[in-house]
Structures are given as structure tokens and as C-alpha cells.
Symmetry: C2
Subunit: 342 residues, 2 copies
Amino acid sequence: MANGQKPTINDVARLSGVSKKTVSRVINKSPLLNDATRGKVEAVIAQLGYVPNLQARALALRRNFLLGLIHDNPNAQMVLGVQEGILDTIRATEFALVVRPVDRHSPTLLDDIRGFIEQQRLYGVMLLPPISENDNLARMCLDLGCTVVRMGSARLDEDARLVASNDRQAVSEAVAWLAELGHTRIGFIAGPEGFRSARERQDGFVEGMARAGLKPDPAIMARGTYRFESGRAAGEQLLSAKEPPTAVFSSNDEMAAGLLHAARERGLDVPQDLSIIGFDDTATAAHIWPPLTTVRWPIRTMASTAARKLIEPGSAAAAPSLFPSDLIRRASAVPRPGKDAQ
Amino acid sequence: MANGQKPTINDVARLSGVSKKTVSRVINKSPLLNDATRGKVEAVIAQLGYVPNLQARALALRRNFLLGLIHDNPNAQMVLGVQEGILDTIRATEFALVVRPVDRHSPTLLDDIRGFIEQQRLYGVMLLPPISENDNLARMCLDLGCTVVRMGSARLDEDARLVASNDRQAVSEAVAWLAELGHTRIGFIAGPEGFRSARERQDGFVEGMARAGLKPDPAIMARGTYRFESGRAAGEQLLSAKEPPTAVFSSNDEMAAGLLHAARERGLDVPQDLSIIGFDDTATAAHIWPPLTTVRWPIRTMASTAARKLIEPGSAAAAPSLFPSDLIRRASAVPRPGKDAQ
DNA sequence: AGGCAAGATGACACCGGTTACCATTCCGGG
DNA sequence: CCCGGAATGGTAACCGGTGTCATCTTGCCT
């Protein structure tokens, strides 16, 4: 310690004239300890700038302090928001956040993740959509002995903890808003098949239409991949329908931007000729023209909650949490032309 | 081990009838080892599914396998690209990536980061712009005993390793391209004062203008904060000049998007009335209308290189690396109207 | 056959914490 | 005045690896 090494618990013990054990008690805030002793030891700790070695601690405790974030980049904005949310929770703790972007389509996905978890001996992992929907993956993590939290669209989950946004309700309300603006021909661009979020949003669309007394028309509904290009393609399909929509709900912002391009290429004016609502409230949403009306879900808060569930034992943490989303009203959705004239 | 615990090196040793030390040699691929023994031990390892405990290893080796990424979110797209680049390098190693978003303006910034590094005993840290420009921070990390790599705009650096993009040259070329398209009134939106990247880009602008035989006009140059709104404000300023520009280079995409809004609000047609070039090639760049001509720098490759410098000892790693950027030509920059008619 | 260097392996302490368990001191109550 | 129990601190072993150094084989040379 004198020679440039970091001070250890032994140095602290020697300098304060107590045993390692006592220092350990001070660090761990053991209640059965004389105040005088505690003070003495704390003074030495401060003087030395002693920081306990987490690796040694992890070894002795047979558990460590690493949380893993496993995702496959659906959306940079969202992933970063999640990271910030997790940090909000763990910043003052001894936990650290380890990230692991993966490729959902890799044939060795499960093995890669297993190796990662085993090698780093993670305490818990957080799964983001879309891989959070992979039940086999969640089960494997649980079997590997770490706690698991999944983020995603609403759905009960027996064993892994769940933090979800209520996509269905949010979409339903967005559609209701379009109806309120006087639209009756409302189109829909769905997310890719097999994604829970895609289904939730589709269900929300159907529900919203029903509530508004409208009937979804398959002729102005299409499916995309959540990517920009697919949104443009879907847009072309919808807009070339015999009776094109005057408003479209897109299951995410990126596809909404694609739709916007498709509309523009046809010489349509958005929002005059076509109202658009997206989902996610990505950075792009506010920056495109016109600014996109979209659904924002509280990513950061959700992630922060999820992290709490990960590190806090207790049964309460096991109950799924459902978060509401907000409709952000911008310029891309306006009353149907001629509606006021009715 | 039999009772559900993870197998340890002792289990492997016992089952294969050799000592711990020999198993350790197998794991570390020691060359002085009998092939027969190695084979036997490896068989047992495979059979048991033994994975060495990194924490114990870190303790014994007095170094660990954690790389830290410290940043304050200049741009989600970029941060995520960096994370992916780092993973490209460390995926097959025992290193893990620990992220730490921070707030550049926090008064306790340095202390927070120090605590983080000391607590987790990071092996190395990577600093992203803009905090990578903080020399005190870099020095502190070095003093704490971890290797440091800074990403940023070109500039020699004595102690910390540097991975940089050649912003100046890239901007210079972008301006040359505008000149080639026939523009002579070229405006500029600078980044915030005090940022190295902002200065590099500004220098590049001046250089490019000079090369094209043009003189920068302060009346059509403004400064922004790299945020959308500041781009819009700068745009209003530039466009209300007595002699407005026919083309503008914006120091990043987000401000370019703001400029685009400003132009549109004035009834200008982009690109017919105004050509725009941005910087960064964020997701937004391709999704706005018209698609933005912009400078793309190889974030992922740079980050991958940076990670290699972090974990590979050797003096070669200490030399700064400079990466070239590409001009992505999209629809937002077109020939000056009437130019062909000349 | 003897000597010896090189190769292969093992014994043991140690990294920096933790826990189990024991020893001491200091009480109050019978 | 003695004893039991709480409060406090110490000792040793352990977590799962690694380094050092000693030991035991070999093969080869003379």
C-alpha cells in the first residue's frame, strides 16, 4: 500500500489497530459495533482512500455485481434511454451495467448469450424487445441462475419479471384521436409478424376503430418490418388503393417516415392530404417535416423500474408493471379536410 | 459441484486426477504441457461444462477484464455504434463492456467517474466526445491506473491513446463539392464554442472555401449547440441575411434538420432554393425529406480499433489513428439553379 | 552406467475479501 | 460474589483462481 498499490482491508485494519473482521463490519454497516471503533475505522478508510475490492467481495460472497443488458438494437434512441434508466437506479450502488448487443438472427444466439452470462457470472440480465419475447432465452437465463427482467409489450409472464408498456391502449387512443379529427378511412401499417409488440399494436388499432364505430378495411392495411424502407413500400401499397386512406397509423416512427416519403413521391401533401401517426417518439419524429404525431412511452422510467426489480429481492418485484404511454400531438395529424364544412 | 453449484477448477482437477495448477495451465494454454494430459483435462472440462471464474482470476491476477465506456450522449446513434464496434473486438475475449452515461455539467463529474473506476477497478476506459476533450478527465483515468482511449476529432495527444476522424478534411471536401455544384454563396453553421470537433469542422469549412477560391462571409455564418432548435435559429439568421446563401454546411445533422425546418417555414424549397449538407449521417439524415447529403465517419470501425488499443499492450497501439470520412451524396445538395444556363 | 538439462507436474502460499466459530469483556440479576 | 448472556473483537478457513519453486521424469550425451 505504501508502494503505490491500492490500500486493502488489511492496511485499514493495521492502521486503525483492529482486525480485518471489524473493518469488514464497518464496511457492511453491521449494527453490533461500538461507535468509537466505527469512527476510528471510518477515519482511516477516508484517510487512505480505501475502496473495497469488488472482485474479492464477489468471490467471497459467491455472487457479483454485474447487470447485463442484452438487446439487438431495435432503435438506438430506445437502447440508450434504457441504459440511462438503468443507471438512474444503480448509479449509487455497487452494481455496474454490462452491455451486449447481439444478432437476433445468429444461429448461435443462445450459445453466445449463455457463454456471456456464464463467463461474466452476471447477477441479472435485462432483455429488450424484440429478443425479450424469446421465451427460450428467458428460461435459459433463469436456469443459469440470474434474475431476469423483460421489457416489452403487455403480457403476463409466470417466472421472469416483466416491465411493459400498454401499447394496445395507446394505439387505441391514437386511433380515437384520428376519428375525433373526422377521419373515417384510417389505414394501418403493422409491425413484423411474430412480434408481440406488433400484435399488441394491431389489436389496439382494431379496438380503437371499433370504439369509434369504424370498420378496419384490409385494403388499406399492410405489414412492414419496422424499417424505413418497409414503411415506404407499405405506404405505396396503401396510397394506391382504390379508396386511399386520409389518415394512417404506423406501428413505429421509422415506418411512418417511410410512409411520408411515399406520400411525397406521389405528390401528396402531409398533413393536408394525409394525416400520419407513428409510435415510439424517436428523435427523428420531431425532426422530420411535418413533425410527427406519435406515441411516446416512458422508456427511461420503465428501465429504471426494471433495474430495481433486478437488484431488489422481494416478491413485490415479481409482479409485472404496466406503464401508460402518451400521445404526442404534433403537426402530422390534422382534421380531415372538409370536415368542418359538413 | 454435485449439488447444483458451478464446477470449479478443483472439481476438474479431482476428476481428471491432476493438480489445480495443471488445470490452470490447460486453461491458459501453457506450452509446456503433455498432450495426453491436456486432452484428458479438456475432456473433463467439456464434460463438466466448466467455465473459469473471472472474479477469482481477476483477484489473483490483480487486474480485471472490464472496459468502461464513459460518455454523455451526444448522439444515440453514435453511442450505440461505438458499443457495437467495441463488442466486435471484445466479443471473443473475456473482456466485458461496462457503460456509464454521465452528465457533462455535473459539478461532481470527476468524482463520480473516479468512484466508478475505482469501485469497478476498470482495466481501461474509452472516452467519447465531447467529454473526451476533457484533459483533466483523461489524466485522472490514467492516474487511476487504467489505459485510456479517446475518440474525437484529429489532434495529437501525448499520453492517452487517440482514435480520431479527420473532420477537417471531410468538411473541406464537402464544401468543395458544393462549389463544384456551382454554389458561391455558401453558409455555415458551427458547433458550440469550446468543442474541438466544432473547431475542426469550422477550420475545414474555411479551408474548403479557400481551396475553391471563395471567401467565407460572416453574414451567413452562425453558431449552434448541435441541437435541433439551435439549427433552426441559425437557419433563420442565415436566411434573413441581405444576400442569403444558396447552400449551407451544417456542422451536424440535427442542426441541418433544424435548418431545413427554418427554410420550409420561409416557404423555401429544399433543395431547389437551398442546398444543405450535414455531418454524422445519423438515422435521421436518411429519413427526412429530402434525404440529407452528409458526412459519414466510420464510427464502428473506429470504436473497434479503439478497443483493440485498449486491450492490446504494445507501443504501436499508442500512436493516434486517423480515419477518413465519406461524403454521402443524397438529394439535399443539388447544382445551383441557373448554373447550367451559364 | 552416470550425469545432467529440459520437460512435466505438484505443493503451497497468496490475491482481498467473507463467514464460522471462539475468546474476551462487561453487564445485571440472583 | 458468582454466573449467564450480550456485546465486541480475533483467528482461521474459505471463495477459485495464479505465481513460485521444488520434485520427479525423461532423454541424451559421454
